[in-house]
């Protein structure tokens, strides 16, 4: 029998990593909802965000608080530019009888190779690095659970980003316009919303959220140009949440983080790596709309 305090500890660290998965999943879902694209470059945006943070911190000497803005601003521009320059063009050249999804997805795969490739070009990235911890200090004890101050900071920042996104989408007029665009682009265009700009903004916003996740991961994971594979966990998280619901994928991320840690505790450590695939297949087979999604509604004709 596994010690109960170990279970608590595993759950707590699962929540911490789950928050980061949730951020990446948010980014994927924002892109999917607004542009119908599965972003296979999502993981590479996280990676580039992390590296940009490192450049800001170690070379430009920016304080930790500012590198979030620095990295988010640059990845916002990157995401927006990709939508504007590439996806816009792909969309405009749709071929009848051929799913546009395929072309869009391959374009994002191209982006992921291009990003990995451009990071690898710097000899600097041959060494595996990691960022210094966000906060140092005495670990905090809650009952028998030990938490590093850094873990609390990760949860805090992730929650802050989520709240900011919620406030933006729910309370601002731009946020409402963005939501309208993702629900029905044609109607949105009719009432005068600049749909193209909105799509671009969504790509930028999603990339910025990923960049924040990248900086949060950077002190915990080893940084390599290949760290983008983490995106599979975010896909699983998003699917748990139904792939179309923002609150759903936050819950999905946390659930997945906890499942992963408990699987590692009760089964074998290799179960950690296969958990996301099993979760994706099980959920899509049994409940394609996700655990929290409502009825599946056919979109468009």
């Amino acid at each position: 029998m596994v010690d109960f305090s170990l279970v608590l500890q595993a759950t707590a660290s699962g929540v911490v990593t789950g928050c980061v998965y949730a951020l990446i999943a948010l980014s994927l879902v924002i892109v999917y909802k607004s542009t119908d694209v599965i972003n296979f470059a999502g993981g590479e945006v996280v990676m580039v965000g992390g590296y940009l943070g490192m450049v800001g911190l170690l070379y430009l000497g920016l304080p930790y608080a500012l590198i979030f803005l620095f990295s988010a601003a640059l990845t916002f521009a990157l995401g927006a530019a990709f939508d504007r320059l590439v996806l816009n063009k792909v969309l405009g050249r749709a071929v009848p009888g051929q799913s546009i999804l395929v072309a869009m997805v391959i374009a994002t795969v191209g982006l992921s190779y291009a990003m990995k490739g451009s990071v690898r070009v710097f000899p600097y990235t041959e060494d595996v690095r990691r960022l210094p911890p966000l906060f140092t200090g005495e670990p905090i004890f809650i009952g028998s659970v030990v938490l590093q101050p850094q873990d609390l900071a990760i949860v805090g920042i992730a929650v802050l980003v989520m709240l900011a996104l919620w406030a933006f989408f729910a309370l601002t007029i731009t946020g409402k316009a963005l939501r309208a665009t993702s629900q029905n682009p044609r109607a949105a265009a009719l009432v005068g919303i600049p749909v193209r700009t909105m799509r671009m903004t969504m790509w930028g916003l999603a990339s910025a959220v990923s960049a924040v996740a990248g900086i949060l991961l950077a002190p915990k994971l080893l940084m390599t140009p290949d760290m983008g594979v983490i995106v599979i966990l975010a896909f699983a998280a998003a699917i748990i949440g139904g792939f179309a619901s923002l609150p759903g994928c936050i819950v999905g991320g946390i659930v997945l983080g906890v499942i992963q840690n408990l699987a590692g505790l009760f089964l074998t450590s290799s179960a950690i790596s296969v958990a996301p695939f099993l979760v994706i297949m099980l959920i899509l087979t049994l409940r394609p709309q996700g655990l929290f999604g409502g009825r599946v509604v056919a979109k468009k004709v």
Binding site: I38, V95, G97, A103, R120, S270, L284
Partner: protein, 316 residues
């Protein structure tokens, strides 16, 4: 009109067979190796094109069936002592059966979910190849004994080359028959509109399951071809990068067109080799160049090379 393909469309296969017989003594081994690689990719790509280009099903599971084919062909010989000539078809049938099992739940899913579910299946399969080390040899891989085809030993590039050419010719002929049959028309109907297809009396679910199985069988055959000229197999061979490569081949060449698929296979199959020789000192740029090529191809050639230059619509 549908029926059998005309002999004009089958005739070029004779050239392929003749090349398979004539080239091995004439070409250096490296070129024969490239030829083998391309012929294997051609079978993989033709299978994926049936699923994606003809039936419009966006699935990533193809590479897993390739792995099943390769591992099963080897294991049936080494563990059960089944001769190669039987092991390879059996492995293809096994891949088709697994494909069918996957298709039963997967065909209920809409585009995006199908892509994600099959992506997860492919990654899961690669995990199995890694973790089931008592059978697959795990990450260390498995040595492939030289297959013996009715007393004719394969296992080297020159010896495998003619047999690979025969297999590819058979697969192409099969593809021509399939796509010019009523079944091929049903696939296009499903791709263009499932509702319209169902309304005109096509059993959409059944057709999708069958095309999944056929496509998986192609991948299984390609797995068997892999064991003809390679001496070693490990899970790395069946990763995400491979499925992206095959996918790019058919999309860059032209979805749903046989010549397009073959052009894509040759171009993208040779690209790494060309880059290796042309960019010797700049090898690190390879990934970036590949990514940019994919992006540009999607932007400027949505119909693929074949469709762009021959202005032929994807066949109705």
């Amino acid at each position: 009109m549908y029926g059998s393909p005309s002999w004009q469309r089958l005739a070029p296969l004779l050239i392929l067979l003749a090349l398979g017989a004539v080239l091995p003594p004439l070409l250096p081994q490296y070129f024969l190796y490239l030829g083998n690689v391309l012929m294997m990719y051609a079978v993989l790509a033709l299978g994926l094109d049936l699923l994606l280009g003809w039936a419009g099903q966006f699935a990533f599971a193809h590479i897993a069936f390739f792995g099943v084919g390769a591992y099963a062909t080897v294991l049936l010989q080494t563990r059960l002592g089944i001769p190669f000539a039987a092991a390879m078809p059996l492995a293809a049938i096994l891949a088709a059966l697994i494909g069918m099992l996957i298709a039963l739940p997967a065909t209920r899913l809409r585009a995006v979910y199908l892509a994600l579910a099959t992506f997860a299946f492919a990654e899961g399969a690669q995990w199995v190849f890694n973790a089931w080390d008592r059978v697959t040899g795990g990450a260390d891989g498995l040595r492939i004994p030289a297959p013996n085809l009715f007393g004719y030993p394969l296992g080297t590039d020159p010896r495998a080359f003619p047999v690979m050419a025969v297999v590819l010719a058979l697969v192409i002929a099969g593809t021509l028959y399939l796509t010019s049959s009523k079944f091929g028309r049903s696939l296009c109907a499903i791709r263009d509109s499932e509702h319209a297809a169902a309304a005109s009396g096509i059993d959409v679910r059944k057709t999708k399951v069958i095309v999944f199985a056929i496509s998986a069988a192609y991948a299984g055959i390609a797995g068997g071809m892999f064991t003809m000229y390679q001496s070693f197999v490990n899970p790395e061979t069946f990763g995400f990068a491979q499925i992206v490569l095959v996918l790019s081949m058919i999309v860059v060449g032209g979805l749903g067109t046989l010549p397009g698929t073959l052009i894509g296979v040759v171009l993208l199959g040779l690209l790494p080799e060309v880059m290796r020789t042309a960019m010797r000192s700049l090898l690190v740029w390879q990934e970036l160049v590949y990514g940019v090529i994919l992006i540009l191809a999607m932007m400027y050639m949505p119909r693929g090379l074949w469709g762009t230059f021959f202005r032929r619509r994807v066949r109705p």
